[in-house]
């Protein structure tokens, strides 16, 4: 199997320096997992993959890395997928390491998966922090909506509650990923305000964080991306040199 066989779906995100891609894992499940592992995973990732016991978890774990690395290869940011690996910090926030273990600080990454979909997002720029989340539009979220939807979110959920709740959930999850808040964070403290048809302001007062968010419907999914520019030079991401392995 060649890496060109992997068909990514590009999500048209116009955030500066941000690329988003989806991968349908249904065909992957039928492929030779061993081939994909050998082609895309570093030695360290091979070891980690072997510790996963749930078959579906193994596939989504692998698919998210394949999606991310194939996007980096496609965009000329990476030459060999095995020469970098996705690691996670103590709060579960992912970061890219080079073969020598150093951090690729000019690339910020985030991954998500839902059902048979895997999603990856990369922001090019040392000052950028990005988060991505995908979720199927379904009634499931309505049962827990009171735990994360607040009257401060705008617009209020007056129509199409399933889709509206899914947009809010994914934006808030994506923001918590961008900041690195970990699982179980109080998402009612993450406030969303629509700025346009698909653009949002996402505020996390407890962390003095202000992010820009976008949501994209695809199939039965909502994909949300949030971007935060921080650090002493937050002018943007375009001036930062790309790192290519």
């Amino acid at each position: 199997m060649d890496s060109a066989d992997i068909k990514l779906i590009s999500i048209p995100c116009n955030a500066p320096g941000v690329r988003v891609a989806l991968l349908d894992t249904e065909p992957l499940a039928r492929r030779e997992l061993e081939t994909l592992r050998a082609r895309y995973l570093s030695d360290g990732e091979q070891v980690e993959w072997a510790t996963l016991t749930h078959p579906a978890r193994q596939i989504e774990w692998l698919a998210a890395r394949v999606c991310l690395k194939q996007m980096l290869v496609r965009d000329g940011l990476l030459t060999d997928p095995r020469l970098c690996e996705l690691r996670k910090d103590s709060r579960g926030r992912p970061w890219l390491a080079s073969a020598d273990g150093g951090r690729l600080s000019a690339l910020d990454v985030s991954i998500s998966h839902q059902g048979h979909w895997a999603c990856a997002c990369v922001a090019v720029g040392a000052d950028a922090r990005v988060g991505v989340d995908i979720e199927t539009i379904s009634p499931r979220l309505l049962n827990v909506a009171e735990m994360f939807v607040t009257e401060r979110d705008w617009p209020p959920l007056t129509s199409g509650p399933e889709k509206g709740v899914t947009i809010l959930w994914t934006l808030k999850e994506a923001a918590s990923k961008a900041i690195g808040l970990g699982i179980g964070v109080d998402l009612s403290n993450v406030i969303c305000r629509a700025l346009g048809r698909d653009r949002h302001e996402v505020r996390v007062d407890a962390h003095r964080a202000l992010l820009t968010g976008w949501h994209f419907p695809y199939d039965e999914l909502i994909i949300a991306v949030t971007l935060m520019l921080h650090g002493p030079d937050a002018r943007g991401v375009s001036s930062v040199q790309h790192t290519c392995l």
Binding site: H54, A56, E60, R91, R140, L141, V144, I183, S188
Partner: protein
């Protein structure tokens, strides 16, 4: 909300209820759900399952504890395994809105110990 004390039997019941909930929701055989099972990696759960669990036990115990308090608790006590979730639910049931005061007292004690050792 006043504090209450759960008996060992009640804590065990909560643990078993959590296992049954996860078994139903994630379609995993009950015998595969152990205290050390990681909800995301071993049971193929997602972040929404944590909210659903809390919601389930808020209803079951008729708790009015604020979501903000639960969120703060989870930030200070990250939970990944079934056993950690069970302890968190027991803490929420026992301490309710006083949970944060408990966590802050624990943190202060840890800092004091660290300072004394340092």
């Amino acid at each position: 909300m006043p504090s209450r004390t759960l008996t060992p039997a009640e804590k065990s019941e909560i643990y078993e209820d959590i296992r049954a909930f996860l078994s139903d929701e994630l379609d995993v055989p009950l015998e595969d759900i152990k205290s050390e099972s990681k909800i995301l990696d071993d049971l193929h759960g997602d972040s929404m399952i944590y909210l659903e669990l809390v919601q389930e036990f808020k209803r079951k115990f008729d708790l009015n504890v604020e979501v903000r308090v639960i969120g703060l608790y989870f930030q200070r006590h990250p939970v990944y395994t079934v056993g950690e979730v069970s302890k968190a639910v027991c803490d929420i049931v026992e301490h309710g809105d006083e949970l944060i005061a408990k966590v802050e007292a624990e943190t202060a004690a840890q800092n004091a110990n660290a300072a004394a050792e340092g």
